[in-house]
């Protein structure tokens, strides 16, 4: 049965009474209100936009849900890779980094004025690009020759000429696994072998650490194998974040189980290519450090800037070589004078020439 209520012989309002209720202005006002409210929920464009967004969200969500199921394994693998990586990187972040060519060797002046002579073909390897890491903080001196993040075995000795206040000690590092071997102060029986070539222009290689600009890690990061990037070798826990300018990058990409990560450097800018299912995505990335390492980096950077602004004069003492200044190009020339080291002469950055006898006393020659 219908829910019907019968109104029998109900008195209806008269036509006059009904017409008094006419109010077209209210109708217009109601119409305008309806139009205003229509703008947000009845707009065809809005609903098309909502539907399109929903479709995209569904597809992305589906993709990511598949990826995230494997993300834990991936993260574990990344952590494992990171641990492996950290076994080979130096634990100190105060190291100075110098790149040199294996075929040419290098004569390197450190920030403290020490000089390191690396003969050509020092590494028994076909690798051409090598890195020298020097840490002379804390009254110690640790140098390592690296191929990427890996320590390279040496087949020739490296000579170190320490710049002490009064005496210069010449030491040889015969093998990277061994200790520095001090020579006699008078160096009577010192055989430098190939550690110093007959003649070489001293072109001190400046630290390249300042070429790497680190950011402070915040939010999600990629942890990558950086063993082929010596500039990162002396930093713990280098990670990468995608540059904010990469508008196509989706934050969830950090959690995707990518099949491969490829990091490349071009013009001091790093690019990360993510690959999965035959598709490659390349984004500009920047290296970042955690808070503690970033503080160290900033302190080191500040120290180096201060150091670089204050040029250290070359002030070697008790050398077995003559160091001559080449006015043509502003370099110093190191010339072995004698293997006997009865006396040595050298010039400093002020072009003063000194002569030091075997007892370690020296006098100004010129």
């Amino acid at each position: 049965m219908s829910n019907i209520k019968i109104e029998r012989n109900r008195k209806a309002p008269s036509d006059e009474q009904i017409l008094q209720k006419k109010d077209f202005d209210s109708v217009l006002k109601g119409f305008q209100n309806a139009q205003v409210s229509k703008k947000w929920y009845q707009s065809t464009k809005l609903w098309l936009g909502v539907m399109a967004t929903a479709c995209i969200a569904t597809v992305v969500g589906f993709m990511l849900s598949n990826n995230k199921t494997e993300s834990v394994d991936q993260n574990n693998q990344i952590a494992k890779d990171t641990e492996t990586k950290e076994n080979v990187v130096l634990e100190k972040s105060n190291a100075q980094i110098f790149n040199f060519k294996n075929s040419e060797g290098a004569l390197i002046q450190t920030e403290n004025g020490n000089m390191i002579s690396i003969p050509s073909e020092v590494a028994n390897s076909k690798v051409e690009e090598l890195t020298l890491s020097v840490d002379e903080s804390g009254n110690q001196l640790i140098i390592k020759v690296l191929n990427g993040g890996d320590i390279v075995d040496l087949n020739k000795s490296i000579a170190l000429i320490q710049n002490n206040e009064n005496l210069a000690n010449i030491e040889l590092l015969e093998n990277i696994e061994g200790e520095w071997k001090p020579t006699n102060n008078n160096g009577t029986n010192l055989d430098l072998g190939e550690a110093f070539p007959a003649e070489r222009e001293i072109t001190p290689i400046s630290s390249e650490e300042s070429s790497v600009e680190f950011g402070k890690a915040s939010g999600n990061t990629f942890e990558l194998d950086v063993k082929n990037f010596p500039e990162f070798a002396d930093y713990k826990g280098v990670k990468f974040q995608v540059d904010p300018s990469e508008k196509d990058f989706i934050e969830d990409y950090y959690f995707v189980d990518w099949q491969s990560f490829e990091l490349k450097e071009k013009n001091q800018q790093y690019y990360l290519t993510l690959s999965r299912g035959g598709k490659d995505l390349t984004f500009k990335v920047k290296p970042v450090l955690n808070s503690a390492e970033y503080s160290k980096y900033l302190a080191s950077k500040k120290s180096k800037q201060k150091s670089n602004s204050k040029q250290k004069p070359i002030d070697f003492k008790n050398l077995g070589f003559t160091i001559k200044y080449n006015e043509a190009n502003g370099n110093y020339i190191l010339i072995p004078e004698s293997q006997s080291l009865e006396s040595i002469e050298f010039t400093d950055s002020k072009k003063s020439m000194y002569k030091i006898d075997k007892n370690g006393t020296y006098k100004t020659v010129k």
Binding site: S2, I4, R8, G30, Q32, A34
Partner: protein
Amino acid sequence: MRVKPLELIATLNRTYSKTENLIEQEAIEIDAAKKNPEKFAPLYERYFLQIFKYIFKRVESEDLANDICQQTFIKALTKIQSYQHKGLPFSSWLYRIAQNEINQEYRSRKRARVVEVNDNELPELFEEMETDLTHERRMILIETMKKLNPDEVSMIEMKYFEKRSGQEIADILDISLSNVKVKLHRTVKKIKKLISES
């Protein structure tokens, strides 16, 4: 004086004009209202009374009828851009909107469907049933109305209580005239049976 058929219709049912001139005039007014809502005023003035009455007969109170009537014209003005002139009176479109608004009121507030029955409107129905109208049968008819479904109630009230033509009912319900006739015939037959069984 002999009245021409067209004038006779207009006299009996002034609210449902079907002359070509009036329909064409309405088409012009509708086009104007599509461009400027304020031009909807002539249509509102013309149809307010009959739409109000149509609603009032189906709801409990005058105030509710007024609210629904107001909402009907707002809805009409909102949707007038989609109105397509098919040669039918504009009023049939307004009635459909009004009926939708009434139905919505029933559903949202779970109100009873109101049917206004006036004694002076019943003789035609009894004539159609070929049954004599008595006080007892009048009361039985009123109770019988409660046993009809909404569509059957609408048919009876529009045809016999509001004296609408079959074509107008067809236009309002958006069904064919023959369908209206069939439904009316079946509904009258059902009422007659229910009365005879009482």
